[in-house]
Symmetry: C2
Subunit: 133 residues, 2 copies
DNA sequence: TGGTATATTGTAATCGTTACAAAAAGCAAC
DNA sequence: GTTGCTTTTTGTAACGATTACAATATACCA
């Protein structure tokens, strides 16, 4: 609770109940929702929340590195409450998205010479363990 | 020239001059253009080419694995004439995109147990060698 | 407790992309 | 070649996700 406020404040942003609600929800739901999904999920508890605010907030949070943007399908943007570098596995059969840890050094070793990595996402498509049979 | 036709035909697709033009252009321009960029580039030589055809064609080619879709900025889709698994480095300073080879085995070793990788993209943001100074 | 900068809201606009129906072109069989 | 059927292209109109904007409300520093 307190930590979320601190995170937001430490970016020089004002603390509002909308920002806390959205940030909190993203942190506690390890799915990769669109802005619309976040909005619909919070609407019962925050009936006045506008979709525009959700868009504004996730953009601001992502800009400051508190959350991440993820592209699963090109035509819609998704968000991830986990701001650390990690990979996403997308099962083309059941459409599930699985997070996985990545080995930063081995990714860095693949980069063109002289490039400095700041943010890194590994996106793999295929079949998950359940669908693989 | 001939090979492009073969590629298209081997997917069960009809060979048209629009498809050859778009596929050929993508193969020979190692940039990561949007549909709009491809369209504008080909318009002088193919004044009747419609933007809709570019969209249709890149979607069909990508479906059959002849090209790839790449997401650099979430709000627009880009295409890549190289259909092989490879990584993209995006320089946040000069906006340049560099391709790099990826080590498939080491990426596979990061995946959740039992998952079968079919397509893989590593996307890294940071500073390129020129901007790093 | 005020005053001011920042955030939220709702609506309207924008942008990239796709749906659709008519016209054109590919291609296989004759 | 020519025919006929199927696929592709085209242009326009629609669509959906996202953003711009101006008015209102809120956070927070003095």
């Amino acid at each position: 609770m307190e930590q979320l406020e601190k995170d937001i404040r430490s970016c020089g942003l004002r603390v509002t109940k909308q920002r806390i609600a959205i940030y909190d929800w993203l942190r506690n739901h390890p799915v990769h929702p669109t802005a619309d999904v976040i909005w619909k999920a919070l609407l019962p508890r925050y009936p006045d929340l506008s979709l525009t605010t959700v868009y504004n907030t996730v953009n601001v949070l992502a800009e400051h590195g508190l959350i991440r943007t993820v592209t699963i399908r090109a035509e819609e943007q998704r968000f991830d409450g986990n701001p650390a570098d990690h990979g996403h596995f997308y099962c083309r059969s059941c459409q599930k998205v699985l997070d996985f840890d990545i080995d930063k050094p081995s990714v860095s070793s693949m980069l063109p010479a002289g490039c400095i990595a700041e943010k890194c996402d590994v996106f793999v498509t295929g079949l998950c363990d359940v669908c693989a049979e």
